[in-house]
Symmetry: C2
Subunit: 337 residues, 2 copies
DNA sequence: AATTAGCACTCAAGACCACGGAGTGCCAGG
DNA sequence: CCTGGCACTCCGTGGTCTTGAGTGCTAATT
C-alpha cells in the first residue's frame, strides 16, 4: 500500500512544510530533495497519499500539506528523535544546575524547555502520591490550633493548619507526632492511608478526637495534594505561530490548568515520549496543536510529566529530543538533591 | 486654555473611542452626545485639543483618537471611578468567600479580576516583610539537617532545610526554637534582624555554630522572601485586544515576573489607585498598554499590589472600579483569616 | 509497466482602479 | 462666536485582470 517511495515523499513533504510553513508542490519537492524522480512522478505518488488521507490540499491548485494522520505516520515511522547538540546539553546543565529548591527546579525547567523549543512549555509539579514520607511534624500553635507539616523525599512540603480543636495539650501532640513518624517515615504516600488506619486504637481515649482531626487533614492533603499544580512558560512564542484555531482559544485552554492536567494524564506510558497530534487531543481549543510530553522522575520512577505545546506543524524530531533530554536531566537533578 | 467645552469634547472622544474602537469624528460626536453645538464647532475645538497634544488623527481624513496625554487628563480630571454593580459585588463575595488558604485566595482573586475587567490581571503575593511572625519551628531531620519553618500572620509559610551542619542534637535545637519564638513571635518581619542580633551571646558556646547557620538561613528567607512572586490570569483576553505593539512583545513582558514586580513597585501611593498610561510605563514592550493597580492588605496596612494590564484604550472608570473593589475585598478576607 | 514530458486548466494572491463615504478645513453669513 | 455650506483628502471596499505556482491528464519514452 505504502511503498518506500511514498514514504520518502511524505517525509519530504512534512519536513518542507514544517520549515517553510507553505504548502509544498511537486516541483519544489523535486528540487529540494534528491528523490531521483521527476515532479510528474511525485504528483502521482501525491495522489495516492492524498487518497489514503495522509496529505491534503488547502485548495485546488495549491501544494500539499500533511494531515494529522500524515504527521502521525511521520512521527511513528519516518523520524528519529534528534539528540540535542553539545552546546544545548551544556546549556541545560548550567541552567538547571544552579537550582536550589523544588520551586526553582520547576521554574527553570519550564523556561528552559520553552527556550529550547521556541514553543509553550508545561511542567507538572512532582506529584505527592509518588513520593515517600520523609517526616511529619506537628506544631501546636495555640490552645485550639495545630499545624501539620508533611515533608516528602522529593523536597516537597505540604502544610495545613488544623483549627477549632477541642483542646490541645503539648504532650499529646508530641505523642501523636512520634507515633505518626514511626508509622509513616519511608512509606510511599499511597501507602499512608492503610498505615494510619489503626491509629485511633493506639492513642489514649482522650486524645482520639484530636488525632482524628489531624488524620483527616493529613489524608485530605494527600488526595488533594498539588498534583494539579502546573507551570507554563513561553506563551509569547504563541504569537509567532499561526493556528487554524484562534489564538484566544489556545490561550484559554492553556490557562485552564485542569485541562492541561487531564491532557498530560491521558498521555500514555509515562516512561517514554508521548506525542498527541491535532485532533487526537480531547480538548476543543487544542485541536490545532500538538503536545509532546514525557514523564520525569527519579530513576524510572515517574513523578510527573512535562511537555511542549505547539502547532501541529512543528519540528517533531527536535521537539521530542528537547523534551526527552530535559525530562532526563530533571530526573538526575531530583535524584541528586 | 482648556475651557469646559473642550474638556467635554475630550471626554466624549475618549468614551466613544473606548467603546467603538474607531477614530471618532465631529459628526458622530454631535450625534451621540448632547453637546449642544454643531459639528463645525466641535471641529474647531478638536483643532485646539490637537494642538495641545490631547488627541491626534491616525491620518488626514480620519477621526481623532486620544493620545496618552489625553487619557491622562481624562483619568485625572474627567472621570470618576465607577462603582461595581450589586451583582458584581455579590459575585466577588461568593467567589472569594470560598477560599481556604492564601494560595487559593490569590488564585481566585486573579481570576476574578481578569473576568471582571476582561483584561489581564496580575496579583502579587503578600510580601513577607510587611507581616508579623506567628511561629518559628525547627525540626531535626537527621544528624546534620534541620528544617526551619517560619509562619506569618498573613498565613504564609516559608520553609528551608539547613544542611551540612556540624552536628545536631535534639536538645539544643529545642533550646534554640524556644529562644527564637520568645524573641520573635508578634514582631514585624522587618524587626526580626535587630531582634536576633544578640542570639549568639544567649546560647551555649557549643551551639553557636548551629545557631549561626539557622539564623543566617532565617534572615536570608526574609530578604529573598517571595516578594517577587506574581500570578496572572486572563492572558486569553489579549487576543481580543489589538495593540499597536506586537502581541508577542506584550506576552514577553508579562512573562517576566521581574518586570511586573518593578512596574507594580513604581506605582506610587500603595493605599490608592494608580494608573500608568502607555509611554508612562518604563518597560518597552508595555508602551502601548495601561496598568491600573492598587495596594491591598489588612486595614490600611498594604501588603502587596494587584492590578490589571490592558490596552491604553480601556474603560478606565470601570477598570478602576473593579480593581479598587477587589483590592478592598481581598483585604477584608485576609483580615478575617 | 513505470516514468516523464507536455499541456490545458484552476485558483489564490497581488496589482490596479474606481468610487463611496466619513471626515476635515475653511469661509461666509447668521 | 457659532454654524451651514462646500471643496478636498484619503481610507476602505469591491471589482476586474494578470500572474504564477500547482495540478491532472494524456501521450510519448524508457
Amino acid at each position: 500500500m505504502l511503498d518506500d517511495r511514498k514514504l520518502a515523499v511524505l517525509r519530504a513533504i512534512v519536513e518542507d512544510y514544517v520549515s517553510t510553513k507553505e504548502p509544498v508542490g511537486s516541483k519544489a519537492l523535486a528540487d529540494r530533495h534528491t528523490l531521483g524522480v521527476s515532479p510528474a512522478t511525485i504528483r502521482n505518488e501525491m495522489v495516492a497519499l492524498e487518497e489514503e488521507g495522509y496529505i491534503t490540499q488547502p485548495h485546488t491548485s495549491a501544494g500539499r500539506i500533511p494531515t494529522d494522520k500524515g504527521y502521525r505516520l511521520f512521527v511513528d515511522r519516518l523520524s528519529t528523535v534528534k539528540p540535542l547538540s553539545a552546546a544545548e546539553r551544556r546549556a541545560i546543565e548550567t541552567f538547571l544546575g544552579g537550582a536550589v529548591d523544588l520551586d526553582e527546579i520547576v521554574t527553570r525547567t519550564v523556561r528552559l524547555l520553552a527556550q529550547l523549543t521556541r514553543q509553550v512549555a508545561i511542567v507538572q509539579y512532582p506529584s505527592l502520591t509518588r513520593s515517600a514520607v520523609q517526616h511529619v511534624e506537628l506544631v501546636p500553635l495555640g490552645p485550639q490550633r495545630v499545624m501539620m507539616v508533611l515533608i516528602t523525599d522529593t523536597g516537597r512540603v505540604e502544610q495545613r493548619v488544623i483549627d477549632h480543636l477541642d483542646w490541645v495539650d503539648d504532650d499529646s501532640v508530641e505523642n501523636l507526632r512520634t507515633l505518626l513518624n514511626r508509622l509513616l517515615v519511608g512509606k510511599w504516600l499511597t501507602d499512608v492511608p492503610p498505615a494510619v488506619a489503626d491509629v485511633p486504637s493506639l492513642v489514649p481515649a482522650d486524645e482520639r478526637r484530636m488525632a482524628a482531626s489531624v488524620l483527616s487533614v493529613l489524608l485530605e492533603s494527600l488526595v488533594e495534594s498539588r498534583e494539579e499544580k502546573i507551570v507554563l512558560a513561553g506563551t509569547a512564542n504563541l504569537a509567532a505561530m499561526d493556528f487554524s484555531a484562534s489564538l484566544r482559544e489556545v490561550l484559554e485552554a492553556l490557562e485552564e490548568n485542569v485541562v492541561l492536567i487531564r491532557l498530560l494524564g491521558e498521555a500514555g506510558d509515562p516512561s517514554s515520549l508521548t506525542v498527541r497530534i491535532g485532533e487526537e487531543n480531547s480538548h476543543e481549543g487544542l485541536r490545532s496543536t500538538s503536545i509532546v510530553s514525557a514523564g520525569y522522575g527519579i530513576g524510572d520512577h515517574s513523578l510527573a510529566k512535562l511537555g511542549v505545546v505547539g502547532p501541529t506543524r512543528m519540528d517533531y524530531p527536535g521537539t521530542m529530543g528537547a523534551v526527552r533530554a530535559v525530562a532526563r536531566y530533571v530526573g538526575t537533578i531530583l535524584a541528586g538533591q
